[in-house]
Symmetry: C2
Subunit: 618 residues, 2 copies
């Protein structure tokens, strides 16, 4: 940087500090001190290193800037003002107000924000996904800059991220850690022990650059080195002072997450040189387009199976997602179980778009989020139970309103001998509750294949639950399975009971229906393959025909799953008083065979038959 | 070790290998190769280092052995046979069978197993909790040995654990990493690069000991050094060969999680010297009792508040948990937000039983699990939204059937300006679905205090949701709040509508009831402070009186929360056809004031009044 640029950095840093104080004091809340510590770092980034066309935030060639320490939003929004995309009025008058896009923590409601942050330790893992896109898919020289807090390095997810960043040689990633020594309630674990930070960073394969985070020359040099990083990710470890620029609270505990009172703010702003209106012209990115052009209308030839053939839906997933490989925007991520989940089928046909994340489910989901930022259709696959490891990431992906596909195999007691640690029995409840989520649970191979194809074009957090064991194909190859739909089997005008199943329990319901029909009890069976949204109209109609006699059967704990979805759908409809039997897994399963465990849990055909008889006789 | 002991180690290792093969081949599933690699390590541990009285598994002075790589259960159970607590018949004939205690992955259904494992990366964090108990509370010289897989070092939670182990100077912890180079689907990230493992371990403050994991002398020496560890945790990095002892599959990919076919098993067993019946007498622990004697009947004087006083339930939690400090078994864990959640109040009165876990929620919950293993009553506290980070740990704690207390503050849109990343809006759904969970959501300070006291003596995964803002005290100080109960306000024989709220929405319901009463509509209000179990009888009775007209109001997404609990309770009761209004947070909130956000979400008194009028007029 020239001396002139360095001077601009100093003046911009002062403005960012002033604006951070102004907007938070005006709002009466926020995190000014966490913004002040990083103002010099971000000023230097804007003036000399961020390549970004602010008029075209979705330009493929743009750098990315992610505030992993999302609570420093006053600083981020002050940067947006400095580059001219947010007005002074919006910054000062709307920050943290109802309905404003300048929220307490950043969300992609702002076009320059890739992902929602505010749950610490997520911005960096998300960035790893963007960097994978940049290096291996887009093949563009954009750089991904992540401002991290020091407190968040206590989150294991940060180390999952650095581990994968070095494994994938993501030289396009720079984490800038604002080591301001103070967390919310007091000193951080490592305080200003930069050497220990550096040792950890090195050990995880990234290049540490230790600097004074208030020295523009040092910052400039570090960011230059970082961008020229070659094959190694960089972590700039910047020693900073919390509250820097406001001497009366610098490095003082007790000022986290507090707006300065107006009088203190006025003094601080005056000492910082008062309000200013610098407008920064950042460098435009080098022109360039992604090496991958999405082909959403490419012809996908899904695999087919014959009715009656026994196929596991996890196998069908593998075959279907491999068929989707003709669409160059489709990417598959594995949590080191690709040979069990079916995901590895994709690797066989498209190894260059298959990324092994190993056993790090937080990073698995975060990589999908990052890839989604760049428009890729990422399927993240592991055992259904292990998405619980990434639940906060899934929750935040919902807040980001990104589009990701999660495929979880080995659900429920049906998995058999491995025991409860491997059985997803609360996944439907957890996933249904996530903002923008779609929850799918097909019973056979054609349904799975159709839904996998549909997932690629479905917005939101789309979760598919697949089954370990092989069960007969029920549906013909050309059957459609729209999200929000269902399939009705054996419907008649005089049905006495409605059976509702999905996945493995649909097969149990069909077997029960056979047996009941043999003893003169007509039942209809609903395949609720779309658990969320559930097919309310079909449920309401069935409830009326069978006079409220309904049996829901699910391989899941009783709370929050299919039973809950059915009850919620019927609760506000005009239907007869319910006579419900809800067959769900009542307690902790053990090992056993799938058939034994389904029976022990009370969700096998035999139990359904008994429940139906009781309802009819009641 | 003497030469005789070393020979015993070799013979025992052969027996452990033989038994691991036998039980898994008999079961037709399991992870023999992952057991074979660690057999020498565990043989040496049993013969020379584990201090354990097998007749008294709950003896305070016992060492602890945790298989973080729970899939190596054949090895663990073979060890149990070798020390004489599991018979050959039980091992060979019941492993992985329905209802057997020798499950696919270990659970505390076995008295020598502290915690359920099988979701990787959890045994070590759990062990950190046990070690905290040993060093700071029990003050006993027991040692905690953890067998870890190499694949699971990709989980960030492993690094959270080592970080806290070094922070708390847990020299009583030894992690033995079985570096067998192969994961499920292929090579691990670092394969046999022991130097990189060692650098990471060192950087995180633990002492790495790199050894050949098949050399009894080296193992013995490392375990001796580890036990004499002083103030530093030890990580034994043992280079091993997957499938060791069965040459035809040693170090071969494709043999993870597969039982040997019977013919191969026979060959292998013969080559290993055939079946044997060694009985190992491990050292007894040094006699000793915990420095802390629980006093569950100590008199706890809960804080009191006057009706009408405005108090946040998070503040009430802090005051109540501080009052519980008179019970020496009560411990509080903070996720670096103790000044916001109220937890720090406990620190003021009992700093020696207050542990700062910093921003590492997985470790936060795991520490509670580990403390529970030693009988401590641990309250883990953070923002409610951030327990989602530890959902897999909470799920596994349910499978462990341990007793932990989770207190989450700042739930729902009520938190205001910080925005959705800080708002727990899916926590009730997620927690309700966990095995053994209890979910509590008090509306005022006395209810909170009473429930906090009750939590200390309530088994299971007990979750308390507290509110950020201050609201009026409703209940007198002597009111009882049993788990599973509820409170009914304004009940009359001619009530037209039932309003059901909890936490902040109870206040909105009461305000709505006032307004409705003013316009001649009598409603009753139920405080569903016990969300799980919910007070079914009271709901059924109310539903009958108000002829099915019910309004559920919750500061949570619509799925899986209070509405779901109410529907589930009523679904199998004999009640009039429901006319339900379910007011819940319909979409993504923004920033705003609490009152604005409650109103924008449609869960404020005004919306309740409207909904009640519509129901009455319908």
């Amino acid at each position: 940087m020239t001396e002139e640029q360095l001077n601009l950095v100093r003046r911009l840093a002062a403005q960012l500090r002033v604006d951070s104080i102004r907007c938070s004091t005006q709002a009466g809340s926020g995190h000014p001190t966490s913004s002040l510590s990083a103002a010099d770092l971000m000023a230097a980034l804007l003036v000399g290193h961020l390549h970004y066309d602010w008029d075209q935030p979705h330009l493929a060639a743009n750098d990315h800037l992610i505030f992993s320490k999302g609570h420093a939003s006053p600083l981020l929004y002050s940067m947006f003002r400095a580059v001219g995309v947010v007005s002074e009025e919006e910054l000062i008058d709307t920050y943290r107000q109802l309905g404003a896009r300048l929220e307490g923590h950043p969300t992609p409601g702002l076009p320059w924000v890739d992902v929602a942050t505010g749950s610490l330790g997520q911005g960096l893992p998300d960035a790893v996904g963007v960097c994978i896109a940049g290096k291996y898919l887009d093949r563009l020289p954009y750089h991904v800059w992540v401002l991290c807090g020091d407190s968040e390095t206590a989150e294991g997810s940060m180390w999952e991220a650095l581990d994968k960043a070095s494994y994938y040689k993501l030289g396009n990633l720079t984490a800038i850690v604002d080591v301001n020594r103070l967390g919310q309630r007091g000193p951080t674990e490592l305080e200003w022990d930069l050497d220990r930070y550096a040792a950890r960073v090195s050990a995880f394969g990234a290049r540490p650059l230790v600097i004074d985070g208030h020295d523009p020359v040092a910052i400039d040099q570090a960011l230059s080195e970082a961008r020229a990083g070659g094959d190694q990710p960089t972590v700039v470890l910047a020693r900073t002072v919390k509250g820097k620029g406001v001497p009366e609270i610098e490095d003082q505990n007790g000022w986290h997450g507090k707006a300065l009172p107006p009088d203190m703010a006025d003094r601080a702003i005056a000492a910082l040189g008062g309000r200013s209106d610098l407008k920064i012209a950042t460098s435009n990115p080098e022109p360039g387009t992604s090496a991958i052009a999405p082909e959403p209308s490419a012809t996908v030839t899904l695999p087919t199976w014959g009715v009656g053939e026994k196929v596991a839906t996890r196998v069908a997933y593998g075959a279907a997602v491999a068929a989707l490989a003709v669409r160059p925007e489709v990417v598959v991520l594995d949590g080191e179980v690709g040979n069990s989940t079916g995901a590895a089928e994709f690797q066989k046909v498209s190894p260059e778009r298959y990324f092994e994340i190993f056993i790090a489910e937080q990073q698995l989901v975060a990589a999908a989020v990052g890839l989604s930022v760049r428009g890729y259709v990422a399927f993240a696959t592991t055992f259904a139970a292990f998405f619980s490891r990434a639940y906060d990431f899934i929750r935040m992906a919902g807040i980001s309103e990104v589009n990701i596909r999660l495929v979880g195999s080995h659900c429920g007691v049906e998995i058999g001998a491995d025991g409860p640690s491997q059985m997803a029995l609360e996944d439907l409840a957890a996933l249904r509750a996530v903002h923008t989520s779609i929850v799918l649970y097909p019973a056979d191979a054609p349904a799975t294949a159709a839904l996998v194809a549909e997932m690629a074009d479905t917005a939101g957090i789309v979760y598919l639950r697949t089954t370990r064991g092989a069960y007969p194909v029920i549906y013909p190859p050309d059957e459609a399975f729209p999200v929000g739909g269902s399939k009705v089997h054996r419907a008649g005008a005089h049905d006495q009971v409605t059976l509702i199943g999905a996945g493995v329990t649909l097969h149990e319901c069909l077997a029960a229906a056979d047996e009941l029909a043999g003893s003169g009890i007509a039942v209809r069976v609903i395949d609720a393959y779309s658990v969320k949204p559930i097919d309310r109209d079909t449920l309401v109609q069935a409830c009326r025909v069978t006079d409220g006699r309904m049996i829901v059967v699910e391989d899941h704990y009783p709370e929050g799953g299919i039973g809950s979805a059915v009850l919620q759908a019927l609760a506000t409809a005009s239907v007869p008083a319910l006579q419900l039997a809800h067959l769900a897994v009542p307690g902790l399963p053990t090992s056993g065979t799938p058939a034994e465990l389904l029976d022990a849990a009370g969700i096998s055909a035999r139990h359904i038959v008994d429940a139906a008889r009781r309802l009819v006789e009641a």
